[in-house]
């Protein structure tokens, strides 16, 4: 399976993240799955005219490829010219290259939240960059390729959203496609592969016991739950970050900071400070997904009153000060 990769209005971090693939080195993993890059801007030898020839052949239908991976928002400005990113050496807007290549691709993958929804490039007030995602304008279908776009395989754009994406989300989606195929039923309502988006970041959160008792962190580095005060959206964000380790052993929650829901459309402009929980009458505005508000409030009050001393005290420390008790054995 041949993958063609281009970058535009993003940071390149999804490629850098992809190179962290474990346990096998990325190229070994892909090669043995029959997956190869036709061209990748960060990784291929071909440069300048050699690269332009490959891209032109692909865009003109003279050279076959399977998956078009785009990384970065589509910058249509200023005034629709696409001049905020003319592809080097070609003098043509990156958006034009993407439109031509998308017509030839069997599948189109949006790599990262910029590419899927627009991301930070689209969040300048008034959006002077005229930035958008491939098939979304934040949470509204449309984007560069339009609401009705279907690639040659008959699928809309596959949105591997995240800022950055986890290497496993990309590799597993490519391998799912290569070995089992990919259908609309493998994607959620906004085109994200269910293989990572059918979970919530909350699932497997190492702070679960603090969450259960609403024992909340008050400041950074505290061990407690980050939902009540420090802006955590793990109970609302779709991703498997706490069951699929980042960089061997990590996740945002394990790193001591809030989930900012980077897989969700519009995460870049939440309307409040990222690391602060907006509240109404003392109750967080964003409640856990699928949780009825009245029950949440009732259960939170109940669990707060039932919080064990250990959990209450550890929540506001950066290391365990009260250990779980050990049952006495023998006499």
């Amino acid at each position: 399976m041949k993958v063609l990769w281009l970058q535009s209005g993003g940071c390149g971090g999804c490629t850098q993240s992809l190179l962290c693939h474990e346990p096998r080195p990325l190229f070994d993993e892909l090669r043995d799955a029959g997956i190869e890059f036709v061209w990748h801007p960060a990784l291929s030898e071909a440069s300048g005219d050699e690269a332009l020839t490959i891209l032109e052949d692909c865009a003109a239908g003279r050279r076959e490829f399977d998956v078009l991976c785009i990384e970065g928002a589509m910058l249509r400005g200023p005034n629709g010219t696409g001049r905020f990113h003319l592809m080097a050496g070609s003098g043509r807007p990156l958006t034009e290259w993407v439109q031509r290549l998308a017509e030839q691709a069997k599948w189109v993958f949006a790599i990262g939240s910029c590419t899927a929804w627009g991301g930070f490039s689209a969040s300048t007030p008034g959006n002077p960059l005229e930035a958008c995602g491939l098939q979304y304008d934040t949470d509204t279908p449309g984007g560069l390729l339009g609401k009705g776009f279907l690639s040659r395989s008959g699928l809309p754009v596959v949105n591997i959203a995240g800022c950055p994406t986890h290497p496993g989300w990309i590799v597993d989606t490519l391998e799912k496609l290569a070995f089992d195929g990919l259908t609309a039923s493998d994607l959620d309502e906004v085109g994200r592969p269910l293989l990572y988006a059918e979970q919530l970041v909350h699932h497997g959160c190492p702070r679960n016991e603090f969450y259960e008792f609403k024992a909340s962190a008050l400041k950074h580095s505290d061990l407690g739950c980050l939902m009540e005060n420090l802006g955590c959206k793990g109970t609302q964000a779709h991703a498997d970050c706490n069951t699929r380790a980042w960089n061997g052993a990590g996740s945002c929650l394990k790193g001591g900071y809030a989930c900012i829901a980077c897989t969700e459309p519009g995460f870049e402009a939440p309307g409040h400070a990222f690391q602060e929980t907006p509240k109404l009458a003392g109750i967080p505005v964003g409640l856990p997904t699928d949780m009825p508000k009245a029950w949440f409030v009732a259960l939170a009050a109940l669990s707060k009153s039932a919080t064990p001393k250990r959990v209450r005290e550890n929540a506001v420390e950066d290391h365990t000060v009260v250990r779980p008790s050990v049952k006495k054995t023998g006499k």
């Binding site: 190179l19 190229f27 030898e45 050496g89 300048t124 002077p128 052993a249």
Partner: protein, 473 residues
């Protein structure tokens, strides 16, 4: 005279176009174009100041932690808070992990594949270099990706993930290392040391870091079977120590309390850093502005139809002059004898830039080992850092590619102005109002170019390890 446009100039971070005026087979003039504009400085305006911690890492996926560190440092200055020792050490470990990984990613994935090109098939070193370094397929690629992924496990423990962490806070680190994690982190550092010593250098870090002259380095490389020795033999054959000289003025903001800040020129004493001497010229950028502005008063307003402009990059100047920044500048300002010798003999060069990164790897891994040992689990990692309603501050750090500065002002609890000068903004700047070309533009003049020319231009451009997404941001 023939004008050629090289692009997409790939195997750099982001998109790059290099325009060359070629006369009789040699570069007469160069113009460097950073073709992507995103406008992060406008994204930041009007946000709560702490939001910078979530926004600026997303400027760059390869210097993400450096961007975080610059913002955290500026906000700490604004709050008047000094992070506790544990917090400083933890943040420094995360930044050093990114910087060293970037150095070797540059070497293995971006820079060395050009030596595997068919253009060099006649050279006696080519078959071995092609076997090791051919893009994606060379035998060195998988071991490096493995070592890189393992090394970044440090960030899994210390920062949750890489890239794009929120662990670096103005008050320290949001992640308090446990005693168990401290053991794992030391093991990861041993693993990384073993890779660098066994595969990259073929020698102990301390032995390599102790080489004190270019002659000693050449003697060290002779007959040695390691990836870096292969590069040195190819570079010697191609004369890359005399190739790619820029302005020979080197700027460092200072790093890790190991390498001091300052400005160095050959055969002169180090000048202390004076940030008041920094200003950005936009005469050849697609941006409004009629005179150089210090970043604390800087502006970023698009003027896409501006006559004479050829890039989105501004032209920062230090006391009105072009400077080069990066690992080479850090080591020269720090007085590292091998690099001082190399540059005093030949000026800045491809070889000097590549050697400087490797010297830095050899010097920083032992420092990282010390930092981990100095961390005391149970002691605080992060202090509260409440911000004033108004004020201004600067955050200066050294990213892998050189000095990175954030200039921030806050008014009524919102960001009023945020200006960023990234390392490659310095190195890949366009001409200024006086017509003086930027560092890379100078370094390319006189090189062979055009049809049938060897890939020298490729080596010189990539020797700077450009990060184009940071450059314009």
């Amino acid at each position: 005279m023939k004008r050629i446009q090289l692009g997409p100039f790939n195997r750099v971070e982001g998109d790059l176009e290099v325009g060359l005026d070629v006369d009789a087979g040699y570069v007469a003039a160069a113009r460097v174009n950073s073709p992507l504009f995103r406008g992060f400085e406008q994204v930041l305006v009007g946000r709560p100041p702490e939001d910078a911690l979530a926004i600026v890492p997303r400027i760059c996926g390869i210097c993400s932690v450096a961007q975080s560190a610059a913002a955290a440092s500026a906000l700490a200055a604004l709050a008047g808070v000094t992070p506790p020792p544990n917090g400083q050490l933890a943040s420094r470990l995360v930044l050093a992990t990114e910087n060293l990984a970037d150095h070797l990613t540059h070497f293995y994935l971006f820079f060395m594949p050009d030596f595997a090109r068919a253009a060099y098939v006649d050279r006696n070193w080519h078959s071995e270099v092609a076997r090791r370094f051919t893009a994606q397929r060379g035998s060195a690629v998988a071991p490096w990706l493995q070592a890189r992924a393992r090394f970044f496990n440090l960030t899994g423990f210390l920062a949750g993930r890489w890239p794009h962490t929120l662990a670096l806070q103005p008050g320290g680190s949001s992640k308090a290392m446990t005693a168990a994690e401290r053991i794992r982190i030391q093991a990861l550092l041993r693993e990384f040391r073993a890779f660098v010593e066994g595969v990259v250098l073929g020698d102990a870090l301390e032995a390599f870091a102790g080489l004190s002259s270019f002659d000693a380095l050449q003697a060290w490389a002779a007959g040695r079977d390691s990836d870096f020795a292969h590069f040195l033999r190819a570079a010697g054959d191609l004369g890359l120590a005399g190739c790619g000289r820029a302005s020979d003025r080197f700027l460092s903001y200072g790093a890790y309390e190991l390498f001091p800040a300052g400005l160095w020129q050959p055969n002169a004493a180090v000048d202390p850093l004076e940030t008041a001497k920094i200003a950005e010229d936009v005469s050849h950028s697609w941006l409004f502005g009629d005179k150089p502005l210090p970043p604390a008063q800087g502006e970023t307003r698009v003027d896409a139809d501006k006559a004479g402009a050829y890039t989105w990059c501004k032209a920062p100047r230090y006391a009105g002059q072009v400077v080069e920044t990066g690992a080479l500048a850090r080591q020269l300002v720090a007085g590292q004898p091998l690099l001082r010798d190399l540059v005093e003999r030949h000026g800045g060069s491809v070889t000097a830039r590549i050697v400087a990164r490797m010297v830095e790897v050899a010097r920083i891994v032992p420092a990282m080992e010390n930092w981990v040992r100095a961390i005391e689990p149970g002691e605080p990692f992060c202090l509260p850092a409440p911000l004033p309603d108004s004020g201004s501050a600067v955050g200066l750090v050294e990213a892998a590619r050189g000095g990175l500065g954030h200039w921030l002002s806050v008014k009524r609890g919102r960001i009023e102005r945020y200006q960023i000068i990234a390392p490659t903004t310095w190195n890949f700047s366009p001409r200024d109002a006086g017509g003086t070309p930027g560092a890379l533009e100078q370094a390319l003049v006189g090189l062979p170019a055009g049809d049938d020319a060897p890939p020298t231009v490729q080596h010189v451009v990539r020797s700077f390890d450009p990060c184009m997404v940071c450059t314009v941001h």
